[in-house]
């Protein structure tokens, strides 16, 4: 069976295989643990049974995701394990070690299963397993295939004086953090599929409701009084639809909750990937200060506190410049000359302290010096003499407010603020950078004792790439993932051709500003859910990295906006929601067409319950049945399934036979005792179908026994016998 024979799209197959790999790692780990627990002795009967069960599950799951070599290998391993339970047992004292070797090799194989190297590995593992099963035979092994060692990397020595290429910033991340991310991303795919299916069910329901309404209308339209029978029929239809609606809503809410959890996990893993200790930033600061000391001759040393405080590496990178700036300021303007320090009784060597700490959701980074402090009286005078503040305001303001003016917290002061109090250039720059990162700067100072700048930043920031542009004098953004191009559009054109495609034009100047344009305008080509359009704008600013801020509950109903960001100068810029832009450009398209253009209209087949202890098989079955219009719930064993059937009716049960808690046959026996499940179609999926199984299945009224691996064709054939 090649990948082409499988019933999954490539993304789905990749994710199912990823799931299978995780599952297989666990199963093999179980085997290893059981073997090791017994030392070199033969495992107990129970241990062997458990090992066989997990190996068996592995085989079934491997088949379903189309890894046929893995099916063969697990089959061989299962047979070998079975052989140990029989007399005479081929177990020897060396077997334990060999078994562990095999499971280790299998684990290694999983990573290369779909690559050419996998086949070579498989040959070797097959041999190893055979040897365990028949220890007295000489292995009929082929010589190990010769694999050419990779060539040694050759590093060209850099000739003296040649410019060293600029090094790119790399993010060092532990592999486990990436794995977490991968598994959350995979989870997301399944969450999406489940929600899509429910939505399809809702659509079918809406159609049914319309039909019922029509029936009701027809009944009421009859010249005489409507017949009780017709009304009764409509009533019972409505009752059924209402019940299904509330069930679906409940299920949808559950699935959205699951989605919320997955997204939460994803965000957490992402954050973990991006977090790093403050140490790197402080090491950098120490280097900067050493350079400053050499350049200025000022005696100053650095003290660092809280080097282990973790925060966003991307934020740390952006803080290098502001910290450098603050150190420069401290050395140039904060620290007094040695004579002055001596006169004040201060130690000759000044100290600059960088302190990092976490305060709730904030990272606080403080840069303090023990210098002369800021002269607030002089600053007050400067504010008045430069005309920025009225004399009364300056008089009323306390020192804190005066110091805030230094940072230009009101935009009007910015620019000149650096000059004020002779703090050198760049304080405005510090504020600007920190503000862009979603934080703020505070300054405190005590005359003769020193100055402290404290940078308060969010621990991690949701940085995103966005296209920025101007409309009606204001800057707006659209997430870059939805921007495919920029173009020029004629003044009155209602469509534009982009990449040989005729696209509708949405006049943002009409939507967001006043009036209409008279000249050719710049256009941003936006694409969302398979639909594209051109948005005309006044001026394209270009792609930028932005921090997305939520709009809050009051603005949430304004669906045109997906959020906002804050510019370097502290202005709020609105982010447009591409989905809404598409909706406005395609007013005739029903919502359905926007969310999934590819899916064919679907007829509801019913509600199915899939029970299997392999996650990969559960997901594969969900996908196959979903495509046939089934709404699928899943359970990992019979006990859980029994619980679920108590709450909901199912129109189809698909179950595995061998499961840890309650096996398939026991489950079916229980179900058949329940009035509601007396005649429900049940399909058994198994890789161990013997005549005894078939007889029991027939007695229990099972629709069909399908051999694993399951394919869509086999499943459809089984369902067709209903």
């Amino acid at each position: 069976m090649s990948d082409l024979d499988l019933d999954f799209d490539p993304d789905e197959l990749a994710m199912l295989r990823q799931l299978f790999r995780t599952e297989a790692q666990d199963a093999l780990e179980t085997v290893t643990t059981r073997v090791l627990a017994g030392g070199s002795a033969k495992p107990t009967h129970d241990a062997l049974t458990e090992m066989m069960r997990v190996t068996h599950t592995l085989k079934g799951a491997a088949g379903t995701v189309g890894l046929n070599t893995m099916v063969d290998l697990s089959h061989r391993l299962e047979s070998a394990l079975a052989a140990f339970g029989r007399e005479p047992s081929p177990w020897t004292p060396a077997t334990a070690d060999l078994l562990v070797e095999v499971t280790d090799a299998l684990r290694g194989y999983l990573d290369v299963a779909t690559e050419p190297a996998g086949e070579i590995a498989a040959v070797k593992i097959r041999d190893q397993i055979d040897q365990i099963a028949r220890p007295n035979r000489r292995p009929m092994s082929l010589p190990p295939p010769f694999v050419e060692p990779p060539p040694e990397p050759v590093i060209e020595p850099t000739p003296d004086g040649a410019p060293i290429p600029e090094t790119k910033a790399w993010l060092r991340v532990e592999p486990e953090r990436i794995d977490e991310l991968m598994s959350s991303a995979g989870e997301l795919l399944f969450d999406r599929t489940r929600i899509e299916r429910r939505v399809q069910l809702l659509r079918t329901l809406a159609r049914d409701l319309a039909r019922t309404r029509q029936n009701l209308h027809d009944a009421l339209d009859t010249p005489n009084a409507p017949s009780r029978a017709a009304l009764g029929e409509a009533e019972s239809e409505l009752a059924g639809q209402a019940a299904l609606l509330s069930q679906t809503t409940a299920a949808l809410l559950d699935e959205i909750e699951a989605l919320r959890r997955t997204i939460g996990e994803l965000q957490k893993s992402l954050t973990r990937i991006r977090m790093g200790p403050a140490r790197d930033l402080m090491t950098h600061a120490a280097r900067t200060l050493r350079a400053l000391r050499r350049a200025t001759g000022v005696h100053v040393e650095l003290r660092t506190i809280g080097e282990d405080t973790e925060f966003d590496k991307a934020v740390a990178e952006q803080l290098v410049d502001p910290i450098t700036q603050l150190l420069r300021n401290a050395v140039a303007h904060g620290v007094e000359p040695p004579a002055e320090r001596a006169a004040k009784g201060k130690p000759a060597t000044a100290t600059v302290t960088i302190r990092a700490r976490q305060d709730g959701n904030l990272l606080v980074l403080e840069v303090s010096d023990d210098g002369r402090g800021i002269d607030t009286a002089a600053l007050r005078e400067r504010l008045v003499s430069t005309g920025q503040w009225s004399a009364t305001r300056a008089e009323l303001a306390n020192d804190g407010e005066i110091l805030d003016a230094l940072l230009g917290s009101g935009v009007s002061v910015r620019g000149d603020a650096d000059e004020l109090a002779g703090r050198g250039i760049g304080i405005g720059l510090v504020r600007q950078t920190v503000s862009k990162l979603g934080g703020e700067v505070k300054v405190s100072s005590s005359p003769g004792r020193g100055t402290t700048f404290s940078l308060r930043l969010p621990l991690s920031t949701a940085l995103a790439q966005a296209m920025l542009f101007k409309v009606g004098g204001q800057v707006y953004a659209i997430p870059n993932v939805h921007v495919i191009d920029t173009t020029l559009v004629d003044a009155t054109a209602t469509t534009a051709t982009v990449r040989h495609e005729q696209l509708p034009v949405l006049r943002l100047e009409a939507l967001l500003g006043q009036g209409t344009a008279t000249d050719r305008r710049a256009g941003v080509v936006v694409s969302f859910a398979g639909k594209s359009l051109v948005c005309t704008v006044d001026k394209i600013i270009g792609p930028r990295e932005i921090i997305i801020k939520p709009l809050g509950p009051l603005l949430a109903p304004l669906t045109l906006y997906a959020g906002a960001t804050i510019s370097g100068s502290g202005k709020v810029q609105l982010i447009l929601d591409p989905a809404q832009l598409v909706r406005r450009a395609y007013p005739d398209a029903p919502d359905a067409a926007i969310d999934d253009a590819g899916s064919a209209p679907m007829v509801l087949a019913g509600r199915a319950l899939v029970i299997d202890d392999s996650r990969a098989i559960r997901e594969a079955m969900t996908s196959m049945l979903g495509r046939e219009g089934w709404i699928v719930d899943v359970a990992e064993d019979g006990a859980r399934a029994l619980q679920m059937t108590r709450q909901l009716r199912y129109d189809l049960i698909v179950t595995d036979l061998e499961m840890p808690e309650l096996g398939g046959f026991d489950l079916i026996v229980h179900l058949r005792k329940d009035e509601r499940f007396k005649t429900t179609p049940i399909v058994i999926i198994t890789s161990r179908a013997n005549p005894e199984h078939r007889r029991r299945a027939r007695d229990l009224g099972v629709l069909a026994l399908v051999a694993k691996p399951i394919t869509r064709r086999k499943l459809l054939e089984a369902l067709a016998t209903r």
Partner: protein, 141 residues
């Protein structure tokens, strides 16, 4: 029964209002006000307040009257917080803080002149209704 209320008294246009101090988080002068196209006049725009997005409300329009002048940078504003919602009211002038007697919703200042006592929760609810009506309206093709 008259009750003593700690209020802040302010003026918008010709009307004098009072709001209980416990809802007032800050009195600020507004930073750059970004207009929010498609929003009703009740929403005067949005501002950056310490890194969060602050909606600025036009009290007149929220209460169903004519909107006041557009909110601009440098205007005075009261930042209110109620039921998890933070918003600002643009004001022309903050008069004073006082302890005044309220009786059956009526409140008068020290000089005996009546003031309009605003309940921030009601204001937010009204604003939300106005914004929802506009925000979810079908776009005009």
């Amino acid at each position: 029964m008259a009750e003593l209320r700690n209020v802040i008294v302010f003026t918008i246009g010709a009307v004098r209002y009072a709001v209980e101090l416990r809802w007032v988080r800050e009195v600020v002068s507004l930073g750059f006000v970004t207009a929010v196209p498609t929003a009703p006049p009740a929403l005067g725009g949005v501002c950056n307040l310490h890194g969060t997005i602050l909606p600025v409300l036009d009290v007149g329009a929220v209460l169903g009257g004519p909107p006041g002048p557009p909110a601009r940078q440098g205007d005075g504003a009261l930042v209110l917080e109620t039921e998890g919602v933070i918003c600002a009211l643009r004001v022309d002038q903050v008069d004073h803080v006082a302890s005044l007697h309220e009786s059956g919703g009526a409140i008068v200042d020290a000089g005996g002149k009546p003031l309009t006592l605003l309940d921030p929760a009601v204001l937010v609810r009204l604003a939300l209704e106005l914004i929802t009506t506009v925000g979810t309206a079908e776009p005009v093709p």
